[in-house]
């Protein structure tokens, strides 16, 4: 398992050699630092913790900063853990760059989706809504029936209704890496990734290869 933290810059389109247009998301990925190694012996599971984006020391609490200082790392804004069965290839303090990935690789990308607030059933679940005409009043975006009558006498759990949408952690699997630019720390993947521009994203090797 390899992974990086990055920042989503936005989407654009590029042409491949044959002249086909590829929609891509541009991510500024890394450099990340390995900030901690967790092993089965010491922690009960094995993982590495990676940190991204140097920041000012005053923006971290003293415990956060001191533990990074102890391993000679700059103050880092974001820390995330990557579970992996074998951590032997990693050293604390090691710098991880975007060249971890190469074009053609499949990656899973996790981000915090854009918050949509309290959304109705048309936006949230793609319901069709009611008829626009023929004497309808207040039924244009209504959900319709939410269940049967006396039997069962209740609304089933999990029935799709209006509610809070977005602002949850979301992962898109099997995105294809289109281009890697180690000079500018850029990673281009085909398709969309969750989150707003400048949102933090976690890029991991695809689970389902």
């Amino acid at each position: 398992m390899k992974g990086l933290l990055g920042r989503k810059l936005g989407m654009t389109r590029i042409f491949d050699e044959s002249g086909k247009v590829i929609p891509v998301t541009v991510i500024e990925a890394g450099p990340c630092y390995v900030t901690q190694k967790k092993t089965v012996e010491s922690d009960g599971y094995s993982a590495i913790q990676i940190g991204f984006e140097e920041t000012e020391q005053r923006k971290l609490t003293r415990p956060e900063w001191m533990r990074l200082k102890k391993v000679n790392l700059p103050p880092l804004r974001h820390l995330r853990e990557l579970r992996m069965s074998d951590v032997s290839g990693y050293e604390v303090g090691q710098k991880l760059m975007v060249d971890l990935f190469k074009p053609g690789d499949k990656v899973d990308i996790t981000g915090l989706s854009k918050g949509r607030g309290f959304a109705g059933v048309v936006k949230r679940h793609g319901f069709a809504g009611g008829p626009a005409t023929h004497g309808q009043s207040d039924r244009h975006r209504a959900p319709g029936s939410i269940g049967s009558g006396t039997t069962p006498g209740r609304v089933y759990k999990g029935t799709r209704m209006a509610g809070h949408m977005g602002n949850h952690t979301s992962t898109v699997q099997n995105l294809q890496v289109v281009m890697v630019d180690p000079e500018r720390n850029l990673l281009l993947v085909r398709g969309a990734v969750p989150g707003a521009k400048n949102g933090l994203v976690l890029i991991r090797e695809a689970v389902k290869q």
């Binding site: 654009t12 590029i14 042409f15 521009k197």
Partner: protein, 121 residues
């Protein structure tokens, strides 16, 4: 838009395409794949639309095909498949989108020529 994102788009003008204007009569050489071989296809007609939009910018060429049927083809400015564009004639037009040509054919679809001083080489 972020500078880094812009740098990916690499928006230099396509060296294969001279500056175009609506009303120009052009001949476009585009590479097309036919079965398993590639050849150059020519399209000659009037530029009726230039669409901006960064990497998605395009222009549309209208020509009159067989039996007087109008044919329009749109080419992206940044496509590597556009091999060459020749400007044959500049038309004198007063608007940016020449959609009015669609309703016309024959004599009424002509555009008056705009003479451009070409610097002596």
């Amino acid at each position: 838009m972020s500078e880094l994102l812009k740098s990916v788009e690499r928006l230099e003008p396509n060296p294969n395409i001279p500056p175009l204007a609506p009303g120009d009569t052009v001949r476009v050489h585009s590479r097309i794949v036919e079965g398993d071989r590639e050849r150059i296809q020519l399209v000659q007609g009037v530029v009726i639309r230039i669409k901006k939009g960064g990497p998605a910018a395009s222009f549309t060429v209208r020509r009159i095909g067989a039996h007087g049927v109008g044919v329009e083809r749109t080419f992206p400015f940044h496509s590597p498949r556009v091999e060459k564009v020749e400007v044959l004639r500049h038309g004198k037009v007063r608007r940016a989108k020449l959609y009015f040509l669609r309703g016309r054919g024959g004599k009424s679809a002509r555009l008056r020529e705009r003479r451009v001083e070409t610097p002596a080489e």
